[in-house]
Symmetry: C2
Subunit: 227 residues, 2 copies
DNA sequence: AAGTAACCGTTACCTCAAGTAACACTTACC
DNA sequence: GGTAAGTGTTACTTGAGGTAACGGTTACTT
């Protein structure tokens, strides 16, 4: 009875990865169900799509909004996979902006149903507690704010505007993308160009007002980064 | 029995205005209920707030989403009352932009609960059919697009970008406002200024790229309006 | 004056989807 | 053999949206 040090019962560990996998499976099923039956799918539908009955679903998700949250996170992954590189890449500033914007548009273009489900989503009983979309936008906006803030500081400018700027940009691209997705009245490349132009002009104006002359065709680097 | 020409039975007309008034009354009750009990109010709550029972509500609104739609439209009115003048007003371009932005922010600042209810709204069973918020954004964006388009044409520039521009601007202000409303980390005036600066720079940049030199302190008027 | 078309309002019900209880089988660690 | 995890089922409860059926009021119509 000297305790066998082996730690927690191995029977508890046996499933560790399995649960994750199962959740992912159900998330995929939800996405498939949404694609098939529109954004108003119920738990029953999702369960059916996954080939199980409701209680099974509820063993993996506490409730509907938990499931939908997971779907939202999956969507975020898709988005980030595409946007991450674009955000991180260096290069001519104007082209870089356009690439980021286009990355976003390409994702929503490829997954319109998923996108609509998540953003205009039937977050049926979401008591505003967890709003995936808001989370995601904050995530992206924060990343942007950090980048912007760094540049502003590097150019010795007031960095207080970085956050509102970031959120403004995110909202701008999202809403324009939204509109474009519904009535596709122009090519994606065209929209990316328009949006990038707006953003570039805004950035350029900001820099000018601080006496910096930027070249859209060059990477944006301050002459001297702070120390 | 030569028909008494008096047209439709006057008993039918008697209530014409009354129904409108009653609907408005319930819309107000909903807003009040939302203020009191958070955004998750049910029909029962709303009815209670209005001092009646559910069926009465259902005599005036076909269903929940009809009621919420009406609430949304009421919110639009509030918004438009404030933004209309700002949009229509003439004056120095930079100040004008700021005024429009600030008008928007002031409305959401004064009715935060209503705002949240409507936009992040518990549009519980909305089958995407009628989305008030989307409607409203389109409304505003269209107004903007018209203004922008006119200017672009007046300056002999490509006006194809007017619509994406408009939607981009709307999304920008909305999202930044959203963010600001949740964590109020700066004054409204401050945010208005930041946003107006972004927009002004974008506008200015666009004009520059067409060889037009604009003065932020002057009304934006093309030298010669088309014919 | 009697009839009736519109409203006012109620209580008690129906319905449907979210979520749960209870029960039975499987696997692999102890 | 015991048991801790997971597999799965059918059948239930719950709650909010929405409806039925009933009765009362007002004021126009005949």
């Amino acid at each position: 009875m000297a305790r066998t040090v082996k730690g927690p019962d191995a029977r508890r560990e046996r499933w560790k990865g399995h649960r994750e996998q199962r959740r992912a499976e159900f998330v995929e099923a939800t996405i498939a169900a949404v694609a098939k039956k529109g954004p108003d799918v119920g738990m029953e539908d999702v369960a059916a799509e996954a080939g199980v009955s409701k209680p099974v679903l509820y063993r993996h998700f506490t409730d509907k909004s938990d499931l939908y949250l997971a779907v939202g996170q999956r969507a975020t992954e898709l988005l980030m996979d595409r946007m991450g590189p674009a955000l991180a890449a260096d290069g001519p500033i104007r082209a870089r902006i356009e690439r980021i914007v286009d990355a976003y548009l390409s994702v929503i273009e490829e997954n319109p149903n998923l996108y609509r489900f998540v953003v205009k989503g039937s977050f049926v009983d979401r008591p505003v507690e967890k709003d995936v979309v808001a989370e995601d936008k904050n995530l992206i906006a924060s990343a942007l704010a950090r980048i912007l803030g760094d540049y502003l500081r590097a150019f010795d400018m007031d960095s207080g505007g970085a956050e509102p700027w970031a959120h403004a940009l995110v909202g701008m691209v999202q809403n324009a993308g939204d509109w474009w997705l519904e009535r596709q009245t122009m090519s994606r490349a065209n929209l990316s160009d328009y949006l990038a132009t707006i953003i570039w002009h805004a950035v350029d104006g900001l820099l000018r007002s601080a006496g910096v002359q930027a070249d859209p065709a060059k990477p944006l680097t301050p002459l001297r980064l702070v120390d």
